[in-house]
Subunit: 355 residues, 4 copies
């Protein structure tokens, strides 16, 4: 950290800052310019907090230099994390380190027939895993909130039928064990990115966590949310860019693809995108899927519905199985171009055979 | 709602939309222009969902006309809600309907001595209630997370000493009953504005809820979050504008004061602001407090610390007791100018006598 | 400035940065930490450019410490600038240094009758100056673009009739002399805040300039735009906050009132707000006018139309003369509370007499 | 357009709206619901203005249905526009309709040697045209503003040497003819996107115009800016997404790639991106270039500098000739995958031969 003092500070003010630095186990480095005094905080593993420095008198600014996250940082873990979700007797999904996962499925589990149909379509198209919400966070208390436990059971039936790993959302700490029992990958939604008790609960589970970026979270806040999970012992975190809120009105959110290479530079965790929620417009899902992979994404999570025009939730951004199949084909070509491969185990071969 | 069809739609597409409208219990009203077909959804208390319409083929846009919230809406509750928090043997805080509440206190409860000192300062300055965090949501897992139950007990001691109502944050559903036992007003933080299980839990408590606006929540989303609480039976919701995230870097957030009159036009619930978190800069707290009341706010929640330069959290935006007293005096003048009064019961008289 | 080096930099990289600093006339100050090297740029009036440093190898970040503007800065001009516009034989408008100016008038000059009527209403209500557009920047090429030279003549007629100073927009460098001949204050619109040839042209004129903040300009960019005018010799610049673009959809823009005290801390120039364009909603103009002055604004520029429901431009945000009169009365009370006064010369007395 | 009336409107209010509609040459279509009255504006080529409707009493909202631009709209011009810039005796650059243009060069023309070297590098790497600024819009009046006429002459020398078309910025209406004399493509910068006199001047020139999106412009405003040029008779407009301003601090701007397919759906004009300014970070230029083309972009404009570490402007976002060559190779692969081709005439063959 660097502490910039205000004009007019005197030795007493400098001493106060120095005392905070020394107490925290670091070494101060004072640069006295003609009109500004700057104090560097030198040292590793020190405990000096920016808020303690900011609270000192005559401190103008405290500028962080090192990243505030440790376990999520690539500095301490240079190799890509490769995360696998392997349902028993099923098809392992692998993501990161050159493995691309294409997760598909409806926003919400509506019925066993619907989710099993969707799962077959996703598998036949070459998808890596099945998504579907049993517990749904909805903006309005009057909207459909999901089939809950019944929905989890329907997802299990779809896995039984197709072998696909299940990605489903955890909304509340009191459902953590139940959801973890059924899910192969636990999703934490954008609106819960800073729900710290939920992150801590996810950190105690033994399943990979797909963590979505908050609607206006900075990348540092996003990585700190991942850190909450990692620090509890769960090292299997998949980051998901899903669009941020801007003044743009043509799309529901602005999918920020530059976050992919930035996150990958800062962190070893895999980074996927959600072009369905990230745009909210079905016709944009395919081009933004291609663009995500071209920017280096380790995977995609896409809303596919057997019959988008009768989806109970988010029908306007769901695509059909046909378009999903095109996206998987695009992804194989793109993976090839980038020296990567689709990370969906045994499914790769038959799908590749389609071409 | 109004459904705008895409160019090239035919009778079959129109019939599909009409069927959805009729099934939902509403009446369609078709306007066929030279180049655009528009279908109105006519009726009250119907069950037609925008997502069902949006999912129909050849639908270009679905434009909502009525507000999606009911209990929060002023349409169904024209009079201002007046919300009171009355600690036993203490001083009631009243907010709304011409009553202005000035809540002060440190970001975090650090020690019994600190919080009791702060409470005395707030009371002596003419404040309406004491704020202080026992459970703290922190961006980093390595930051101080609050004294938890001990913190709640310190707050109770401060109330015992000063008679001030206690405003403190509820972070997790498993602490709901505990926090409600100690708090007079339960705060839901900005990062939890769309934590629906937490909103539902707050809706079952018998204490007023101070709900902060999410960092990038629209006003409709904010009122729908309040609706989650109201629909469970808790009618005592105080809305709090606390700044939204923009490109601005001089302040931590952009305190959007136009949201005050807009929320008051749409809803009967009281609206207060948090100029401390809303700016993140101590020197801006007083002018933005004045501006909030001038825009019509029903109150303020302000960080005051006995010794801001030693605050463990957010010291850079905390003000001293002296500045807080100036803000209370400003508020009395402003209330007078606007035909309102400070809603802090017995405290009003002595404070007014200061002048 | 502070230069933060990347991990792995060696002496050669440090030497390269040091060379750039020395060549620019400054002194380097090197802090070598365990894992990071930081180089301070010490000196005043040096010519070291951030872009030259950023371009050196192994430079991670260049952090500016001093403000990049000089003439706009309060550091070099501690006293408030007081700016006066005095039409010959008319009523001087004064703004800054405790003088509040309330500028009113229609968005666009539509006819001599309209603008003269509006001017009389503004004067009779106690307003300080008349606004009205002769040249209009319109988002669509098909919208009405103003009466141009005829509009300027109509404004002159309104000044002749009422004595009020005229505030009107300059859109293009080839109209600079013409507009300056008719106007008492030259407005530069938000969309032209970074139209540098226009700023330079305004810097050569002998009339005060009312510079509006760009729709997504940072406060530093805003002050640098003022600097473009000041550096050409025109020291009479009035800053105008007029709302920034955010995700908010209830208002056309988000009027950011915290920018008022921030700009006043950084700069000696007067700061006014435009609550009409800043919200785009007529019912919000009065509360946001009050809030602006409460936040410390030196004035207001407000759209008033003799008949808002027949305004050719921006009728939805225009208020009537009655509401304008209420705003002037609010402003007198607010000025009194803050130890300021309305800066409209001889008009102050008769207006005050109204009460 | 659709006019939504407020609660409590009566026949007189409806009649007022109807009168405005009829006067403008359209037909009203009234839908009277239980609680809301909605009036559609039916007709093509009518002159009813939203502002006239909004200004009527008891009008709650006016919702536009048709696009406000005509000439830029794909509705009236279904085929892709293909735009070519053909320097005499040089290499034509073609963009749009399946032709991808890769424009490269330094931010600023610094010397004849620098620009000729850069031009050779761009040509040898397979680039389509040379960019370079002679007139530079700079945030600070103290920054280098470009070599102006001398810079134009240096660009001409580089074209003479390499045959590449020249893309350079027009800043001011009084330089329009001069810049058009030297340039093959005239750039209008983001800060001038709503500088209407400049757009009108560009509309009278006989050269293609590369129009950059404003920093916080909506896509409708962007297309209306293009309309200003088209309506004056210049049909050769290339749209350029260059990033919008958000809360993100890791990049200078947020490059919004979903704008590419949206603009292409709404308009026939070619759409390119500027990943250099759009991110401000050299290491992001290559992945975001790939992602842009994957999203469907018709081209790229990229900052390449013979020696980025000595660039006088924007060195931190400039890439070397080597990286530029990789981007051209990526682009050829991507074009092939998407059934497109690089639109740089004779250069295509030798470049393709490299592989």
């Amino acid at each position: 950290m660097i502490v910039v003092m205000k004009h007019g500070c005197n030795q007493r003010h400098i001493d106060q800052v120095v005392a905070v630095i020394v107490q925290g186990g670091a070494r101060p480095m004072i640069s006295q310019g003609e009109d500004t005094t700057i104090i560097g905080v030198i040292g590793i593993n020190h405990q000096v907090l920016p808020e303690d420095l900011r609270a000192c008198e005559f401190v103008s600014r405290v500028i962080p230099i090192s990243a505030p996250y440790k376990l999520a940082s690539r500095a301490l873990h240079p190799a890509d994390s490769v995360i696998a979700a392997a349902p028993k007797n099923g098809v392992p999904m692998t993501v990161g380190g050159g493995n691309i996962a294409i997760i598909g499925g409806p926003c919400t589990v509506e019925s066993e027939e619907q989710i099993v149909t969707a799962a077959r379509q996703v598998r036949d198209a070459g998808g890596s895993a099945l998504r579907g919400g049993a517990y749904k966070p909805r903006t309005s208390p009057y909207s459909f909130q999901g089939h809950k436990l019944d929905g989890l059971k329907m997802l299990a039936a779809a896995r039984e039928e197709t072998g696909l790993a299940i990605v489903t959302e955890l909304l509340s700490i009191d459902q953590a064990d139940l959801v973890a029992e059924y899910a192969d990958v636990i999703q934490i939604g954008a609106r819960n990115m800073q729900n710290y008790p939920l992150l801590e609960a996810a950190g105690l589970l033994k399943k990979p966590v797909l963590l979505k970026r908050g609607l206006c979270a900075t990348l540092t806040e996003f990585l700190l949310a991942a850190e909450y999970i990692l620090v509890r012992g769960n090292e299997q975190v998949i980051l998901c860019e899903r669009g941020v809120r801007t003044f743009e009105t043509e799309t529901r959110f602005t999918l920020s693809l530059s976050s992919i290479p930035i996150l990958q530079e800062k962190s070893h965790l895999p980074v996927i995108t959600d072009p369905s929620h990230g745009t909210g417009v079905a016709s944009l899902v395919r081009p933004m899927s291609r663009a995500s992979l071209a920017a280096g994404a380790d995977g995609l999570i896409i809303e596919v519905h057997p019959d988008p025009s009768h989806a109970r939730v988010d029908g306007d951004q769901s695509i059909t199985a046909d378009v999903f199949e095109q996206i998987v084909k695009d992804s194989i070509l793109m993976a090839d171009m980038l020296g990567k491969k689709l990370g969906n185990g045994c499914l790769v071969k038959p799908t590749a055979a389609i071409f």
